[in-house]
């Protein structure tokens, strides 16, 4: 198993503190939760009829937690991730990210939150094809105040943290294998030292061996103190997290049993 050196983790944690210092100016109270979401609903309205993708999701994620959200296709996983990642806003309910109320934010403020506090890893199309690996990793830094001279060192550290070979740093991203692409995507999610890493089926397109490599990367980030929310429909993948919650038809459950009971009630 490839592991993550303590040197790297120290590097990240120190820069992380820097980011928090600026962000904390507008934090109304100090919340112990990175994610504090209450009764989130999301309704997609269309002429063909409304889709209730989320029906009152309450979720709290502590600093440093590695949480898996499991659910079958169409259960609302991606919808939830978009809201948690400030890409979308809930129809109702409240969402505090590190104690900050997301509802009151303008689009530009949401963009700035995504740039500094959230790292995304998607299932596919993560990297821009015709630029190098390292430039892909540096992309989020273009949208922050990160000084130019710090970009390359930060990107390199992030790539090392996910065990990408130095030789690949200047390769075009379309020259990488599927597993490498996903690890580079994790490095990119990491490069801004975000409060939260959100991964939507990051191993969905991978075989079991590369899935293991990618999950190992998440595990080492977790050990380094990162807060991670990983979405999956595979229980093998979910089992690598500290905690797993289940989503079905837009409702969140703490256990499979609870989910089945709820089904009986309906």
């Amino acid at each position: 198993m490839k592991s993550f050196s303590s040197h790297d983790s120290i590097h990240f944690d120190s820069s992380r503190t820097g980011n928090l210092a600026t962000a904390s100016q507008s934090v109304p109270y100090h919340s112990p939760y990175v994610i504090d979401a209450q009764r989130l609903t999301r309704v997609y309205r269309s002429p063909a009829g409304n889709t209730y993708a989320l029906r009152g999701v309450t979720l709290r994620v502590k600093q440093g937690e590695f949480l898996a959200i499991m659910g079958s296709s169409g259960s609302g996983k991606s919808t939830l991730m978009s809201i948690l990642g400030c890409l979308d806003t809930a129809t109702s309910g409240s969402y505090y990210l590190e104690g900050e109320d997301i509802k009151t934010k303008t689009d530009d403020e949401l963009a700035s939150i995504r740039a500094t506090r959230i790292g995304f890893v998607f299932q596919s199309f993560n990297l821009l094809p015709r630029i190098s690996v390292i430039r892909n990793v540096m992309l989020p830094l273009l949208y922050t105040a990160c000084p130019v001279r710090e970009r390359i060192p930060r990107a390199r550290a992030a790539l090392r943290a996910v065990s990408i070979d130095e030789k690949l740093f200047d390769h075009m991203s379309n020259e990488l294998s599927g597993g490498q692409v996903q690890r580079v995507a994790i490095a990119r999610a990491l490069v801004n030292s975000p409060a939260l890493i959100l991964a939507d089926e990051p191993t969905g397109n991978l075989d079991s061996e590369t899935t293991d490599q990618v999950l190992s990367s998440f595990e080492s980030l977790h050990r380094a103190g990162r807060t991670i929310v990983l979405i999956t429909h595979e229980s093998d993948v979910a089992s690598r997290a500290d905690r797993c919650v289940y989503i079905k038809d837009g409702c969140l459950y703490d256990s499979v049993a609870a989910m089945h009971n709820a089904r009986k009630v309906v």
């Binding site: 991606s78 978009s82 990642g85 890409l87 979308d88 689009d107 530009d108 963009a111 700035s112 995504r114 740039a115 500094t116 995304f120 998607f122 199309f125 993560n126 821009l128 094809p129 015709r130 630029i131 430039r135 992309l139 989020p140 273009l142 949208y143 922050t144 130019v148 990119r188 801004n192």
Partner: protein, 407 residues
């Protein structure tokens, strides 16, 4: 997003789509190249034609009244029209039969002697390659001095550049001192003569020493810039006024008033008309080029929906996306404009060379206006901005979730 980051992103995108980028800007390249070629040809034509007409003479109005006009009558005319003419120079350009000129122990035949005041050179833009035009004193005292056209110098002394100032030549058996050589390459041919083959001497010298009794013409020096004047009206007024001074009733036929400026003005309006036509053609081709850019950018936005979603999820604001796409189109069009300028200059160089070869003896100058480069760049940038704005806004307005879901 920092400016240099935008440029770097744009550069990678354009390089990644080299072929498409080139095809897209072709419209702009052709449009700008056409404008540059046409305008440098037209201004080259204008330059060459107005040089032929003697643009320097555009302030000169030639007044001819046959043998009726005397020195005194021209003086009276100048006094009668002080708002129009600052002065009227008198010139005896009468042609007798050809006569022999001797110098350097050679004899050639010449047939053109202009007798004028010392101001003639300045008034007509005549320049001396060596020596100088004769002085007012020479005229007052009817000194036997001449300025030779460089063609005559060449015939007598073997070279245009022969040092002849101070040499003596003999005209009709009488000896004259050469005081200057008129440069035919710099001086537009004076009204009816070719500078190179003309002999210039003081008016009084020609009248007295050569016993010339030929008619005198007047060169009216216009006070104001001819561009601002109604030269037709001035011509009529001059005919009428001079008619009454001379006491002739058929002044319309007897008196001729010709101005180089009116020809130049006509030429100018022709050039303006061509320029207008050109501008129209150019605008159409640039419009088509602009629509091409817009089409390409819209395709581009559709193809890169994922990239847009990804960038937004990584923290790009709408403004960052707008600016990135806008700069793609602006840089593309500026590039097209610059390539167009280069092609335009190459093409005009080739055309000028071709015209000069085909029209033997024609010496069309290559007129390159560096200001055009700036204008072309500005126009292309404006096209990029105008036609790139809508696609860029469309990209920026895209919902990130929709963009990421897009298959």
């Amino acid at each position: 997003m920092k400016f240099r980051d935008i440029l770097q992103e744009v550069q990678s995108t354009l390089l990644a789509n080299r072929m498409r980028s080139i095809l897209t800007i072709l419209g702009i390249v052709i449009g700008i190249a056409a404008v540059i070629t046409m305008s440098s040809l037209v201004s080259g034509m204008g330059e060459s034609l107005s040089k032929g007409f003697g643009l320097q003479q555009s302030k000169v109005v030639t007044i001819m009244a046959g043998s009726d006009a005397s020195e005194a009558s021209y003086e009276a005319l100048a006094k009668a029209m002080p708002q129009i003419y600052s002065s009227i120079l008198i010139v005896d350009n009468s042609v007798s039969s050809s006569f022999s000129v001797e110098g350097n122990s050679k004899t050639i035949t010449a047939n053109y002697i202009i007798g004028s005041s010392d101001e003639y050179a300045e008034a007509t833009g005549l320049q001396c390659s060596s020596g100088s035009y004769f002085t007012a004193q020479d005229n007052a005292s009817a000194h036997k001095v001449v300025v030779l056209g460089d063609g005559i110098v060449k015939d007598l002394y073997g070279s245009k550049n022969a040092q002849v100032v101070g040499e003596k030549i003999s005209i009709l058996g009488d000896s004259y001192t050469i005081v200057g050589v008129a440069d035919s390459s710099k001086s537009g041919g004076t009204l009816m003569t070719d500078t190179g083959t003309t002999i210039y001497m003081p008016f009084s010298t020609k009248r007295i020493r050569l016993n010339s009794e030929g008619s005198i013409i007047g060169l009216g020096m216009l006070k104001d810039d001819p561009i601002t004047l109604d030269l037709d009206q001035i011509g009529k007024d001059t005919q009428q006024t001079f008619g009454s001074i001379l006491g002739i009733s058929d002044w319309k036929d007897a008196i001729n008033v010709v101005s180089a400026a009116s020809m130049v003005n006509e030429l100018n309006s022709l050039v303006t008309a061509i320029a207008l036509l050109m501008t129209t053609i150019a605008s159409i081709s640039l419009l088509v080029g602009g629509i091409g850019i817009m089409n390409m950018m819209l395709t581009n936005v559709t193809e890169r929906i994922h990239e847009i979603g990804l960038r937004k999820s990584l923290g790009a604001r709408s403004r960052d996306i707008t600016v990135q796409f806008l700069f793609e189109s602006i840089i593309l069009t500026i590039l097209g404009g610059l390539i167009g300028v280069i092609f335009g200059y190459l093409a005009s160089g080739a055309m000028v060379a071709l015209i000069n070869v085909l029209m033997n003896g024609f010496d069309l100058p290559l007129s390159v206006d560096p200001g055009l480069v700036l204008i072309a760049t500005a126009v292309s940038a404006a096209i990029g901005l105008i036609f790139g704005y809508y696609p860029a806004r469309r990209a920026a307005k895209m919902d990130p979730v929709e963009a990421l879901r897009y298959e």
